[in-house]
């Protein structure tokens, strides 16, 4: 049994008559990387701020590292490193001074603060910019400094709100790799929120899909696609060199192949839905019937499709 380090139960935040976060139950285990995935305005930031005790929940509670966020936010904040979606620094101070300030707010003396600030800046690869004013930092450098800022307090949990916002693709790759390495080396629990699916997909152990204040599904990618696509499962598309003209008999025979659910014709393409992988059988059948196959495409579901599905469902509900 894994111990959970973040536990949310019935967490609700109401602004006016709208539940921004709606009876959220979630538990995150020690040492895992959890991705909170959802569109803008889903209530991700509100949830995170409630975990830190910066926003008071309307009902329910959040427990982080064994502390209740409403009654002992100071204990939580000394163990949790939070990186907001737009990291801001005091522009008139150097990177080192900014970090030293935060370290001192965590109770380190001036000397200790300087030592550990230099150490974490080396860790994130900013050792050449120790004495540059943060006003002159690029966006990617600020993001790194934000990570250093989180690490300097030696947290048990790191919470990052949209950590990849506004950095270029190669920067994102490096940044996420850095997060993953640090998490694995030091057994840190990482919670990151994002609306960039493919990025999160790469480094997260588990993801939760969060739409309109509700957690719709959670688990790793395979579990999610199993949960969501058990009915529609697999789709095979076959492209022919001429417009499809299946005879009634052929179509019936094709339907009789084990567990084919429906067949759709569209120009040169034939889309077949089935709940098992039947691609070889279907191709063999088509070849035997003298159809000229140009291409076969078997569709598997990734996080993108999962996300898409939820978006579509949401739009239907509106």
């Amino acid at each position: 049994m894994k111990t959970s380090i973040i536990e949310l139960q019935g967490l609700t935040k109401r602004y006016g008559s709208i539940n921004v976060v709606d009876h959220l139950n979630l538990s995150i285990h020690k040492g895992e990387i959890f991705g909170l995935l959802g569109p803008n305005g889903a209530g991700k930031t509100t949830t995170i701020l409630m975990m830190l005790g910066l926003i008071e929940p309307t009902s329910g509670f959040a427990k982080v590292c064994g502390y209740n966020s409403t009654s002992s936010p100071i204990d939580i904040k000394s163990k949790v490193g939070y990186m907001p979606d737009s990291v801001g620094f005091y522009d008139t101070m150097t990177g080192l001074e900014n970090l030293m300030y935060i370290a001192q707010l965590n109770g380190l003396s001036r000397l200790e603060a300087e030592k550990s600030a230099i150490k974490v800046m080396k860790m994130v690869g900013l050792e050449n910019d120790l004495n540059t004013k943060t006003g002159a930092y690029s966006r990617g450098m600020k993001q790194r400094l934000g990570l250093a800022d989180v690490l300097i307090k030696e947290p048990e949990v790191i919470i990052m709100d949209e950590p990849t916002l506004g950095i270029d693709p190669s920067g994102v790759k490096d940044f996420l790799k850095l997060i993953k390495t640090l998490s694995r080396q030091h057994g840190l629990t990482v919670l990151l929120s994002s609306h960039h699916l493919n990025q999160v997909q790469k480094i997260c152990d588990r993801v939760g899909i969060f739409v309109k204040g509700k957690l719709l599904a959670q688990g790793n990618i395979e579990q999610l696609s199993e949960q969501l696509f058990s009915q529609t499962s697999h789709q095979v598309s076959i492209t022919l060199n001429e417009p499809i003209s299946l005879t009634q008999k052929d179509e019936e025979e094709l339907m009789q192949l084990a567990s084919v659910e429906n067949i759709a014709k569209e120009g040169n393409q034939l889309h077949i839905n089935c709940n098992k992988i039947l691609t070889p059988d279907i191709v063999r059948f088509m070849v035997e019937k003298n159809y000229n196959i140009f291409g076969v495409h078997q569709k598997t579901y990734g996080l993108e499709d999962i996300y898409q599905k939820y978006f579509e469902n949401q739009h239907l509900n509106v």
């Binding site: 907001p84 008139t92 001192q104 707010l105 850095l178």
Partner: protein, 327 residues
């Protein structure tokens, strides 16, 4: 990327005050480097030296004026005498003080919010009110240092020029004058902090505070004059003196409180701030009051100024504690 961190455990010191004083230190260094503070410091220093120059050049005639009961209190004279070319220093401060307070406070909270440093600081293990308290304390330290430095410069220069030793009476009066100055600037500082919490844009907060300052310096007395003209009947009996509650309202403006308090403290011959009856005047010997009596006269003004500062700060505190941190 090469990542090496060998030992990740530094023993955290248990001193609970480290975070708070780190914040105060950071605030002070921020203010000292900020342009608005440098500019106002220069203006105040220049007016100080100008009024000192005028005072020193007129010191001779002021000291030899034996009709004046406190003509021998040279250091108080240095702060108050003028030949009409320049107002004395405390009059300068009555309108530069608010500007100083406003310039230090108008962007205290909202600029941190705009730069999103507020949320980062709030995510550290400190109490939320420590941020506001550190700002207030750092400004108090800053302006006390400034006024104390100016006063010591004045005393030193006076000592060099005249060679007359300073009396305890004068020291006490000058120290209480400095305390009143600090509270006066502190009042305007807490007022502008309220606006900086309330308004997201620093410019809006600045305009709001300056508007209020203009209201109190110019329009407050104008409006009261208009009202008193309407209300008070135009009979000969009443027109000579205004109603006492109008008078009270007139004296309630913060800069009026400051002016009343400082003039009484710096000019020991002042015996009353309100109108005096002939009976009261009759037996009075033109003599300067001891510091205790001067303080008794201005006690309402002093306590009013201090309580206004505290009320403003408490309001800022309340607003900040209830503020949504999320942008």
């Amino acid at each position: 990327m090469e990542i090496s961190y060998t030992d990740f455990s530094i023993i955290k010191s248990s001193n609970k005050n480290v975070p708070f004083w780190a914040m105060v230190r950071k605030e002070i260094s921020d203010h000292i480097r900020s342009w608005q503070f440098i500019i106002l410091l220069m203006i105040i220093a220049l007016t100080f030296f100008a009024s000192m120059y005028v005072a020193i050049s007129n010191l001779n005639s002021a000291v030899s004026n034996t009709n004046d009961p406190d003509h021998l209190l040279i250091y108080l004279k240095l702060l108050t005498i003028t030949d009409g070319t320049l107002p004395p220093f405390h009059v300068f401060i009555s309108f530069l003080g608010p500007l100083l307070g406003i310039s230090l406070g108008f962007n205290a909270i909202n600029s941190e919010q705009q730069n999103s440093t507020l949320i980062r600081v709030m995510a550290q293990p400190i109490y939320r009110d420590n941020l506001l308290l550190s700002k207030f304390i750092s400004v108090t330290i800053l302006i006390s240092t400034m006024f104390l430095t100016l006063a010591l410069l004045m005393i030193g220069a006076g000592l060099l020029i005249t060679g007359v030793p300073i009396e305890l009476e004068e020291v006490l009066r000058i120290v209480s004058y400095i305390i009143i100055c600090v509270f006066y600037v502190g009042f305007w500082f807490s007022l502008s902090i309220i606006f900086s919490i309330r308004f997201k844009q620093a410019a809006t907060a600045a305009i709001a505070s300056i508007g209020l300052w203009l209201f109190f310096t110019i329009f407050h007395s104008m409006i009261l004059n208009v009202i008193s003209k309407i209300i008070i009947p135009k009979s000969i009996l009443f027109s000579s003196s205004r109603y006492s509650w109008i008078e009270t309202l007139f004296h309630m403006a913060p800069n009026q409180l400051y002016t009343d308090a400082t003039t009484t403290l710096l000019m020991p011959k002042i015996r009353s701030l309100g109108p005096m009856s002939m009976e009261q005047m009759a037996g009075a010997i033109p003599n300067s009051l001891p510091i205790r009596d001067s303080l008794l006269i201005v006690w309402p003004q002093v306590s009013g100024l201090i309580s206004a500062t505290i009320v403003c700060f408490a309001l800022a505190y309340y607003l900040f504690m209830r503020k949504e941190i999320k942008c």
